[in-house]
């Protein structure tokens, strides 16, 4: 039972980080109509910025701030230099150009930092574990990640729904010509949205990099899961991204923990490998089911 609670919390934590990634992806797609494969690179940039600043200053907190700033800055720069030219192109060009950006970012980072993984150490306030009701002890840092994810979800909801910038973002989603005719600087708005998505990705990278390790290519598996999340939730929908991310995070984590155990009575000794293989495809099966049932995703607008 304690294992189940622990794994459910792990799934929740994983889902929250996926949400932070997927939110930026879905926002960029919803507003600019751009498919951004380089989102995983921004995640990596955030993680490396955090590791480098934390190593130089000795402060993890400064590292976190640096991850946000660096990813937002790199995001804005890339938007101005490259992405801007792609809005009017078809998806094929967007995929290819952002694939090229991944190659450039990955090799550039390898050149700067080398191929070896970097590790971040937590400040004392975040290290250690707490006892939860029900006799579960759980790492503080993972709880913090869950809280951060929830705060970002709330913040995005307020930003999109309650602020002037949010109104502009929604208007840009609905009709870009009309709002630029109304005097909104659409170029600046796009850069801002892209930088916002990038900053979120960068912070997710720093937080997950602390749990695991910071290395070149770390963004790629997450990017694909974020895509699955966005497809399940519906492109352009922050709410869909939230629900989708939690579904994917919990399904994946619980599947990996429980399937080998659950298959034990049926398959006996072979249950371990078969369960692990099955668990690794579980989220894709989830995606297939959602697509058959609702091709536009759970909260996607009907095409």
């Amino acid at each position: 039972m304690t294992l189940l609670i622990e794994q459910a919390l792990n799934g929740l934590q994983y889902g929250m980080m996926l949400f932070v990634m997927a939110a930026g992806l879905t926002l960029i797609f919803g507003v600019m109509g751009l498919i951004n494969l380089a989102h995983g690179s921004l995640y990596m940039v955030g993680a490396f910025a955090c590791a480098a600043v934390a190593a130089a200053t000795g402060s993890y907190w400064l590292g976190l701030v640096a991850s946000l700033i660096a990813a937002a800055f790199v995001g804005a720069l890339v938007e101005r230099l490259v992405i801007r030219r792609l809005y009017t192109r078809d998806h094929l060009d967007q995929v290819l150009a952002t694939f090229a950006l991944i190659l450039i970012f990955s090799e550039g980072t390898r050149w700067l930092f080398g191929s070896f993984p970097l590790y971040l150490s937590l400040p004392p306030a975040l290290a250690g574990a707490v006892s939860l009701p029900g006799g579960v002890t759980y790492p503080v840092f993972r709880l913090v990640i869950i809280a951060v994810g929830a705060l970002i979800a709330l913040g995005l909801w307020l930003l999109i729904g309650r602020t002037r910038l949010g109104i502009r973002i929604r208007a840009g989603e609905a009709d870009r010509e009309m709002i630029s005719a109304l005097g909104v600087d659409i170029g600046a708005l796009y850069t801002a949205v892209f930088a916002l998505g990038a900053a979120l990705a960068g912070m997710a990278g720093a937080l997950v990099g602390t749990l695991q390790s910071v290395q070149v290519g770390m963004g790629e598996p997450v990017l694909i899961l974020a895509f699955v999340t966005v497809v399940i939730g519906g492109i352009g929908s922050i709410k869909g991204a939230f629900i989708g991310a939690l579904l994917v995070g919990i399904t994946d984590t619980l599947g990996k923990a429980l399937l080998p155990v659950l298959l034990q009575p049926v398959l006996g000794a072979g249950a371990g490998p078969v369960g692990a293989a099955l668990a690794s495809v579980l989220i894709y099966l989830l995606m297939a089911v959602v697509l058959i049932w609702r091709p536009q995703g759970l909260y996607g607008a009907r095409a």
Binding site: F29, I35, V82, R85, R89, H91, L92, D93, V95, L96, A97, F99, A100, L101, I102, L103, I104, S106, E107, G108, R110, W111, E220, I224, F227, V228, V230, V231, I235, P273, A276, A277, A279, S280, V281, Y284, L285, M287, A288, L291, I292, P295, Q296, G297, A303
Partner: protein, 323 residues
């Protein structure tokens, strides 16, 4: 003859010429490079059918490439160990048996993935095909029976009646012939009623529907054929390396096949050959100079997408694309 047809023949002839000159000067390694180009170009020809002519931006074609490779390696390793496969069927090392099996299995995978993903369009289609390929990748990684993460190797290249496949030139001849055959099939298909319907669904699905052609079956058939050609290429690639690993299904591979097509020129018959040749040439030339050659390829790719959307053949023919 149209200028493009001349260019198609010239590009293919150049590849064969390169292999022959390499053989004549005793550079066996260069023959192997030419073989690699022919095989990767074959995968590109497969993808080009869906992506170039059908406008189906599949980011998951490495799945079919990898399936072809795994079918080949599994059949060969079962034959080598005298272990029967399921239902008591024996393994085999005959290319003439392996190719159809690889193509059929890749085709079935293409049918399932295509049927599930063609209900979506645009960005959804890109992400969904990517996700399904990734699913097969993780399946290959976590399935221990056939090597899991380490991949599966087999020690002798599979055989073809009357040909010594272990020598570089005969194996190149096999691969180049299959590439020529695929180009021919592709050229005939795109000129047929089916090919015209396929291109019509890309240009204007609504108008195509209005003329009485449902886009879905046309697209699905194109997707399956495209998957089968990629499966064949994967089979040859496994034979070239005598090894297959999950990496052949990874999304980097999908991206690379896409790069061959786009670097060469989308929807051009010989585009994938030019694209694969330039990519492999860059790998061979820049690889020894810098460990970060992929980054340079990225820069080049970015410049091509931004400033020369017609790719190499488009640059030579001085037009973006036709159709």
């Amino acid at each position: 003859m149209r200028r493009e047809a001349i260019l198609d023949i010239a590009i293919f002839a150049l590849l064969v010429l390169f292999a022959l000159v390499a053989f004549a000067t005793g550079q066996n390694f260069a023959v192997t490079i030419a073989t690699k180009i022919a095989i990767l170009a074959l995968a590109g020809v497969g993808l080009n059918l869906a992506l170039g002519y059908g406008g189906l931006v599949s980011f998951g074609h490495a799945a079919f490439f990898g399936i072809g490779g795994y079918v080949t390696a599994i059949l060969a390793s079962h034959a080598a160990n005298y272990e029967p496969l399921a239902f008591g069927l024996p393994g085999t090392t005959q290319m003439l048996v392996i190719w159809p099996v690889a193509m059929i299995v890749a085709g079935i995978a293409g049918l399932v993935i295509g049927a599930l993903s063609l209900g979506t369009s645009g960005v959804y289609f890109i992400m969904v095909t990517l996700a399904f390929a990734q699913m097969l990748y993780y399946l290959a990684v976590s399935w221990p029976a056939y090597g899991g993460e380490d991949g599966l190797s087999f020690y002798v290249r599979n055989s073809f009646p009357g040909v010594n496949t272990l020598a570089p030139v005969p194996f190149f001849a096999i691969c180049a012939s299959l590439l020529a055959l695929a180009l021919l099939v592709s050229a005939c298909l795109t000129r047929s009623r089916f090919g015209l319907a396929l291109q019509a669904t890309r240009q204007n699905p609504m108008r195509t529907t209005a003329t009485g052609i449902r886009p879905f079956p046309v697209r699905l058939v194109a997707f399956v054929i495209s998957a089968m050609i990629c499966g064949l290429a994967g089979s040859l690639y496994a034979d070239l390396n005598r090894f297959v690993s999950p990496a052949s299904m990874s999304w980097h591979m999908s991206g690379e096949i896409m790069v061959f097509v786009i670097l060469g020129g989308v929807g051009r018959l010989a585009g994938p050959i030019a694209g694969a040749a330039v990519f492999i040439a860059l790998e061979q030339l820049l690889g020894p100079v810098s460990d970060y050659w992929l980054g340079l390829v990225g820069v080049l790719l970015l410049l091509i997408v931004l400033f020369a959307p017609g790719g190499i053949t488009g640059l030579i023919l001085r037009e973006k694309r036709h159709g």
